[in-house]
Structure formats: structure tokens, C-alpha cells
């Protein structure tokens, strides 16, 4: 009955129905949406949003911190351990002096008779820190020290040998790549070379009025690393051998002062500022529930451009890093916030976005969270531990603190938040 006697003429009503369908499709797709505020008064589940600025000491407290060692996996490292640079020189305007220390390896008797020795260091061509770019004189003395270790944080002249074992003086202009060789007084150190306690300390003279950079053991190129060149006497004649230091680093003596109401950061000096944000107080003050969303939490610092000094060529990060530390164990680093930005309206304002940390603190009911502001940083991995190696540049940042005369320049936290009522 439904077979081949087919009339394929399309009935009129089918065409009509198809027309209606197409017209409806066109109508539907032609309607446009225009979201308006109409209906918003009827909302029963609405979002509350707020914006507050915190600057008073009840919510934010700042503490100056000086810490010259880093503890990682139970080992104490000097502040600039693993630095590719060693700094040597003076910055008289800042009352600052940088020394270099090297631990010399033990030279056994089997090495033979040492008849001559020299210290060889490589100058980094471009690094230069000082107010007078023409101060090209490199002049320093080399002393010995018998109690220098990898956790040494400070040295004074009293710790060094009474007389230097070498002296170096040469004018080397900036941007010159040069290897410095100084002959050591073998008679004074020959016996110490046979012990495990010999260290060489390079101390700039007052004539050196700039700080220059030298390649360290960690500079990345073995040919630039410092070493001691030994001349050994044997039955077949003299021959040369070289020994790299066990470790090296520089130490910084910073006696500069800042105006009242400011705090300073100096990486190599390990001069930091600890910021404690009282999240309990903020939570109580704003009536926040643990389920608030922090849309933005900007921690702002205003720097004093007059007190800011930097090398002609930064050796690493040129903007201070903010480090988040656990509030209970202040030495455990939880996060690093290097991504600061400068305000578009004021280049001297540094902004750190810490919304994730504030949100975490509010959600978990933490009483406070602790940050540290550090001048520059270098992230390193020791085993499975991710740490910040203390900064090894000598640049100085000066920021207004909570006692600054101008309230607008004090550190502040700008908080924007929202939650479902």
C-alpha cells in the first residue's frame, strides 16, 4: 500500500509549514539581548563588594631586619653564596665598603715545594657602582685570615693578618675586561698553605672610590673563576699548578643612614623590611566571612628617589621582591612575589599584588601573614627546597615607612573584596 505508485508533488501545506518554520527561526535569531539594571532590586542573593585602604599600625606593622645567612636544609649559607659576582671597593658617599673572602684549599706535602704563588682574579668588565664614573682606580690589599668560614657574616681588620701578603693598584676603566694577577708573599703564607685554615681577604684601600665586580666561582665560566697559581719545584725543574678556592663571597660594611621615616634595603647587606599584616584585625573590622573573594590586595610602597642608588649595570633583579613567609614559622618561605609593578602615575610607587595570600589567610583564619621586602633576589633550588638566595647586589632602595611625615607616602594595603550575602 505504501509502494511505488508515487506522486512526488509536494503538498502546499508542507511548503507553508516550512515557511513558518523558517520565519520563526529568523525571528528567534534576530532578537537581541540588552542587559539592563531592571530586576536588580528583586535580587535576593546579591553580592556585596567593598574597597578599603589600610595604612595604620593596627593593620600593618613594619620591622627592619638584618639577616646575613640563609638556612637551607640545615646548612647555613652566607648571604651571597652562589653569587656569580664578588664585589670589591668603596662607596664613600654611602660610607660603604665591600671585601672579598676566599677559602684556600689545603695544599698537601705531596704537591712538592712551593717556590712562588699568585692570586688571579678576573674583573667583570661592565659592573660599576659609585657616584663618580671616572673613579677607575682598583687598589686593594690581600690579607690572610685563619678563622674564615662559610657562615662568616662579618669581619674586621682585627681578624686579619697584621700586614698584607699582596698589594694591587691599577687604573682600569669601566668596560675593560681584564685579569688581575697579584704575586703573594710566599714567605708569609707558605706555612699556612699547608693547613686547612688559610683564607685570603681582599680589602680595598681608601683610594678605591668605586665598587667593582669580579667573577666568582659560580660565574658560569671556569676560565673566569679565581684561583691561586703555584710554582712547584721538582727534580726535573719548576712547574705550575693552580687551585680554586673552596668557596668565596663578599662582605659588605654599610654604615650609611637614612632620614627618619624611611627604611632601606641593601641586598648584600641583607637589610630587609618585615611586614606583618594583621589579617584578624582586617577580617574583624570588615566583617569578612572565610568565603570572601579578594578581588585585589595591593601592597604599595613609595620609594624615596633621592636615597635610591644603583650600579650602572644591575647584576640581577633591580626591583625588590616581596617574600611571603608563614606567620607561625617566619623563616619558611611560602611564596615569592617578584612581579611588582610601578604605578602608572608615579614611578616611585611599587605595587605588589598579594590577593592570593590575603584570601588564603582569611579562608584559613590566620591571625596574620608575614612578608619580607628584599632588594633583588635570586631564586635557587637546593635539593627539593626552593629558596631565595640573598641578594648579591649592593643597590640601595629607600622607602617611606609608617612614620613618614606625609601620610600619603606610607605603606598601605588597598583591599577590594566581594562575597555573596
Amino acid at each position: 500500500m505504501f509502494t511505488s505508485d508515487v506522486n512526488f508533488k509536494r503538498p502546499h501545506h508542507l511548503s507553508f509549514a516550512a515557511l513558518i518554520a523558517l520565519a520563526a527561526a529568523l525571528l528567534i535569531t534576530s532578537c537581541k539581548e540588552n542587559i539592563s539594571t531592571i530586576g536588580s532590586p528583586f535580587l535576593q542573593d546579591s553580592v556585596f563588594r567593598g574597597a578599603n585602604t589600610f595604612s595604620d599600625s593596627a593593620n600593618i606593622r613594619l620591622y627592619a631586619v638584618l639577616k646575613q645567612t640563609v638556612s637551607a636544609e640545615g646548612i647555613a649559607y652566607n648571604v651571597n653564596y652562589s653569587s656569580p659576582y664578588l664585589f670589591l671597593g668603596n662607596a664613600p658617599s654611602e660610607n660603604m665598603s665591600a671585601w672579598i673572602g676566599m677559602k684556600i684549599p689545603f695544599i698537601p706535602d705531596s704537591t712538592g715545594t712551593i717556590v712562588d704563588d699568585s692570586l688571579v682574579i678576573s674583573l667583570d668588565s661592565s659592573y660599576f657602582y659609585g657616584t663618580n664614573p671616572g673613579a677607575a682606580l682598583i687598589e686593594f690589599d690581600v690579607y690572610t685570615c685563619d678563622h674564615f668560614s662559610d657562615s662568616t657574616a662579618s669581619l674586621t681588620m682585627a681578624d686579619l693578618s697584621a700586614v698584607p701578603v699582596a698589594h694591587f693598584s691599577q687604573t682600569i676603566v669601566k668596560d675593560s675586561q681584564q685579569v688581575l694577577v697579584m704575586r703573594l708573599d710566599t714567605s708569609k703564607i707558605i706555612s699556612a698553605l699547608r693547613t686547612a685554615s688559610l683564607s685570603l681577604i681582599l680589602v680595598p684601600t681608601n683610594n678605591m672610590t668605586a665598587i667593582r665586580g669580579f667573577a666568582s666561582l659560580e660565574n658560569g665560566s671556569a676560565s673566569l673563576s679565581p684561583y691561586i697559581k703555584l710554582t712547584i719545584s721538582s727534580t726535573s725543574g719548576n712547574y705550575f699548578t693552580s687551585r680554586a678556592p673552596q668557596y668565596d663571597f663578599h662582605l659588605l660594611a654599610d654604615k650609611s643612614t637614612l632620614a627618619q621615616g624611611e627604611f632601606g634595603l641593601r641586598g648584600s647587606r641583607a637589610l630587609r623590611e618585615r611586614i606583618v599584616i594583621n589579617t584578624k584585625q582586617i577580617r574583624t573590622q570588615l566583617g569578612l566571612t572565610p568565603f570572601v573573594t579578594i578581588n585585589s590586595a595591593q601592597l604599595e610602597f613609595v620609594s624615596d628617589p633621592i636615597e635610591h642608588t644603583s650600579s650602572l649595570l644591575p647584576v640581577d633583579t633591580s626591583i625588590p621582591a616581596l617574600v611571603y613567609r608563614d606567620s607561625l614559622t617566619a623563616d619558611s618561605i611560602q611564596a615569592i612575589i617578584p612581579g611588582s609593578s610601578r604605578s602608572a602615575t608615579d614611578v616611585n610607587t611599587l605595587i605588589y599584588q598579594i590577593r592570593g595570600d590575603i584570601e588564603y589567610a582569611v579562608r584559613n583564619g590566620l591571625d596574620s601573614i608575614v612578608f619580607e621586602l628584599q632588594n633583588g633576589y635570586a631564586a635557587r633550588t637546593f635539593g627539593t627546597t626552593y629558596i631565595i638566595v640573598e641578594d648579591y647586589n649592593v643597590d640601595r632602595w629607600a622607602f617611606y615607612d609608617q612614620h613618614a611625615a606625609d601620610p600619603t607616602k606610607r605603606p598601605k594595603l588597598l583591599l577590594t573584596y566581594s562575597y555573596l550575602k
Binding site: M1, F2, T3, V6, N7, F8, R10, P11, H12, H13, L14, F16, A17, A18, I20, A21, A24, A25, L27, I28, T29, C31, E33, N34, I35, S36, T37, I38, G39, S40, P41, F42, L43, Q44, D45, S46, V47, R49, G50, A51, F291, V292, T293, I294, N295, S296, Q298, S341, A344, I351, Q353, R355, G356, E359, Y360, R363, T416, S418, Y419, L420
Partner: protein
């Protein structure tokens, strides 16, 4: 042959509409601004035939429809049929100088019904229907930026109904409605400024409960012969105490802190009564008037305690509707009849006091008209199309918006004859 061609055409048209519809569901789903209140808009009718009659049909004793308004009508089912309903609506709202427009596209419902016993006139149906539409979108601005709110979902029901005719004049029916659904509001708080992230929040109310719907239809000529052609019908849906769960989904900036906060509570959906009177004139014309009432004064989507005060933004609602219908020509009588003579034509009008009380002493009234076509196919299947136009006017237009709405509905009905083999085999 005609059947073959019709099925293909039917499929083709249905496919165009359905595909077009689904493609729009991806875009947006929102509706009247009043849908932010309570359970949202009460769906007066999902079947396009009923929609074209402005929701009138409580006294419709017709074998070609799975009547959702009165379960007693299931006894009149003459064949097995399957309905799928699609709905589209467009709202244009005005409040002072502010204007907005929203549109949405949804599946209106799915129903299947059949006559189980001709002797007892036992008809049964099963299906899924939307009960309310809680879909709306708006934006709230303040000094920090704009927050976009989108309400989605609504209350739905899965039902199982049956009806019998103990006498030729009286039809009795009942239906078990399993109420379920989610009403959720998603908010995106956008904050102006640099390096600021939006906040995303979601609060949803998950509802579940049971209610019974009972109905009857009575041919009045069984009482008085002078009332020939008149039918009275009524249905009553019981109130339902709902199990309501509030979930707040917090999606903070720090993804590891995502969390859901859940609170168990109570909801309440009110009872509803519908009464209809229908008259039939000649073979093809019928008219009907309906009255329905539902008191939302005690309704609430969620409360933590059973004794919590009712939602003050809701109140009593009633609805009056009137419809005129020219029935489609039965398939067996349709040969040689022109298209316009063959199709069913429907007109309706309604007035409704909506359950919304947007402010103290403010009521919202709805006035609407409707039109529709019923296109029968030789296979016995049909496509019903409905269009509605209406306006919602608050008693105080400085507080609540005026809402002009336009709705389209389409119901595709596939009957048992669809399943007749296309080709006769040699054995037949």
C-alpha cells in the same frame, strides 16, 4: 505514498525547528525580570495547542492532546502519542529611562500518552513538564563596577497520570507529580581598575517533593439535555512541602580554596485549583473559559526552619482566560480539503494577577492574547504552533518594570501511526 512523503517533510520541518532551537540555547537563557522573585514564572501551559488558547483547556475533552491542565482528559486519548514542546520567549522591559531585553529558548516538555483500555476508557500518560521558569538576567552597578546576575532553572515535574470514565459523561483522573529542580543565581562581580579579578559566586536551591493532581470532566447534557455540548472540568493540585537544599559555591581567585557550603532546609509550593467551562458548536468550533487560582502567600524557595516567615515578595495569584478554537479536520476526512480549511485555528485571551509583590502594596497584572495553528499530517502526527503577546503592568510603575513579552511555542506530536511499516511486505 502520501504517508511516506509526509513523514519526510514532517521530519525535515521538525528538525529545522529543533536544531535552530538548540543552537539558541547555547547563546542565552533568560526571561522576565520578575523571575528573580520566588520560584519564577509559573508555566500556564507548555503544549502549544493550549498555549495558543492562552492556557485554556481544563474542560477540553479531546482525544488528540495529552492535556496537562486536567488529568481527567487522559481518558479521551484515542491513540498512542508522543509530544515534544519547544518554547521561545522575548521580554522587553521598561522602568523609567532604563530599558532592557532578554530572550530564552527552552524545551517545553516531553509527554507520552496512550489509551490502555478502550472498554474502561483508561488512558495513561507519563512525562516531564516545567512548572516554573526562574530565568532572568540583570546587572547591578555601583562605584566599584557592575555585577551581572543570571538566574537559571526553575521547578519541573515528572508526572504519571491516569484517567477513566466510570460513566460516559464523567471522566475522573489523577496524576502523581514528582517535583524537582534547581533555582540558581550566578553572579559575576566585575571590579573596575587595573590588576583586579572578577569574583564568581553561585547560589542554588535544589528542590524536591511530591504533589497530587486530581481532576474531573462532566458533560453537562447528562444533567440537563438543554446543556448539550457543554462540558465542565476542574483540577486541583495539592500543595507540596519541598525538601530544599541551599548550596553556595565559592570560586575564589585561589583555585585551591574552591568550596561548596550546603544548608538543608524547607521549601513550599502552593496548591492550585483550575475550573473550566467549554462549549462546542457544530463539528469544528469550541469555546472555553477558565479560572485558576494559586496562593503564593506561604510559598518559599528555601527557609532554614519550617516556621520561617513567608517570602514577602509573593502573594495570591489568579488567572482568567478565554479561548475560541476551530478544530482541525480529522485525517480521514481531509482529502480534497484546502490547507486553511484543514488546519486548526486557535485564539485566546487572558488576564492574570501575578503572584509577584515587588514592593509593599504593589501588584503586577498581566494581559495577553494568543494565536495558533494546528497542522495535521496524513501520518496522524501534527505540528502545533502558538504565538503569545502580552504585557505585565505593575500597579506602581516607578518601582517595578513594565514587561512586554512575546512567546512562541511549537509542539511536535508523533502518533502511533508513525510506526506503521512504510512498505507492505509480501506476507501482509
Amino acid at each position: 505514498m502520501i504517508a511516506v512523503l509526509s513523514k519526510r517533510s514532517f521530519l525535515c520541518i521538525a528538525l529545522i525547528v529543533i536544531v535552530n532551537g538548540f543552537s539558541n540555547t547555547r547563546v542565552v537563557a533568560q526571561g522576565s525580570p520578575y523571575s528573580f522573585l520566588g520560584f519564577g514564572d509559573v508555566t500556564s501551559a507548555t503544549n502549544s495547542r493550549l498555549q495558543a488558547l492562552s492556557g485554556t483547556g481544563v474542560a477540553m475533552a479531546d482525544g488528540f492532546i495529552i492535556n496537562e491542565l486536567n488529568p481527567a482528559a487522559l481518558t479521551y486519548l484515542s491513540k498512542t502519542q508522543f509530544d515534544i514542546c519547544l518554547r521561545y520567549s522575548y521580554d522587553q522591559m521598561t522602568l523609567g529611562p532604563d530599558q532592557g531585553s532578554n530572550y530564552r529558548f527552552k524545551i517545553g516538555g516531553l509527554s507520552a500518552g496512550t489509551l490502555v483500555s478502550s472498554a474502561a476508557h483508561l488512558g495513561v500518560a507519563i512525562g516531564f513538564l516545567p512548572v516554573t521558569d526562574a530565568e532572568a538576567k540583570t546587572i547591578r552597578n555601583d562605584s566599584l563596577g557592575g555585577t551581572i546576575y543570571q538566574r537559571e532553572g526553575g521547578l519541573s515535574e515528572f508526572y504519571l497520570g491516569a484517567a477513566v470514565r466510570p460513566t460516559s459523561a464523567l471522566a475522573l483522573g489523577g496524576r502523581l507529580d514528582i517535583l524537582f529542580g534547581n533555582v540558581r543565581t550566578i553572579a559575576q562581580a566585575n571590579i573596575t581598575g587595573d590588576d583586579v579579578q572578577s569574583g564568581i559566586f553561585q547560589r542554588e536551591y535544589s528542590e524536591s517533593g511530591l504533589r497530587g493532581t486530581f481532576g474531573f470532566m462532566l458533560s453537562l447534557d447528562s444533567l440537563f439535555s438543554e446543556l448539550r455540548g457543554l462540558t465542565i472540568g476542574a483540577s486541583f493540585s495539592t500543595a507540596s512541602s519541598l525538601t530544599s537544599t541551599q548550596r553556595t559555591v565559592v570560586t575564589p581567585i585561589n583555585a585551591t580554596l574552591d568550596s561548596t557550603i550546603e544548608n538543608s532546609g524547607y521549601g513550599y509550593y502552593p496548591s492550585e485549583i483550575k475550573i473550566g467551562l467549554a462549549g462546542r458548536f457544530g463539528d469544528r468550533f469550541r469555546i472555553e473559559a477558565n479560572l485558576s487560582a494559586q496562593d503564593f502567600s506561604n510559598a518559599h524557595v528555601f527557609t532554614l526552619t519550617k516556621d520561617a516567615p513567608a517570602d514577602p515578595s509573593l502573594g495570591p495569584s489568579n488567572r482568567y482566560s478565554f479561548a475560541l478554537e476551530r478544530l482541525a479536520v480529522p485525517i480521514e476526512d481531509s482529502r480534497g480539503v484546502s490547507f486553511w480549511e484543514k488546519v486548526g485555528l486557535r485564539f485566546g485571551a487572558s488576564y492574570m494577577l501575578l503572584p509577584y509583590r515587588p514592593a509593599v502594596g504593589v501588584t503586577v497584572h498581566q494581559l495577553g492574547g494568543s494565536f495558533g495553528l494546528g497542522i495535521p499530517f496524513p501520518s496522524g502526527s501534527a505540528i502545533d504552533i502558538a504565538a503569545e503577546l502580552g504585557i505585565r503592568t505593575p500597579s506602581d510603575q516607578t518601582i517595578a518594570p513594565k514587561d512586554l513579552y512575546f512567546k512562541l511555542g511549537l509542539t511536535v506530536t508523533i502518533t502511533e501511526r508513525w510506526f506503521v511499516p512504510l512498505r507492505k511486505t509480501d506476507d501482509d
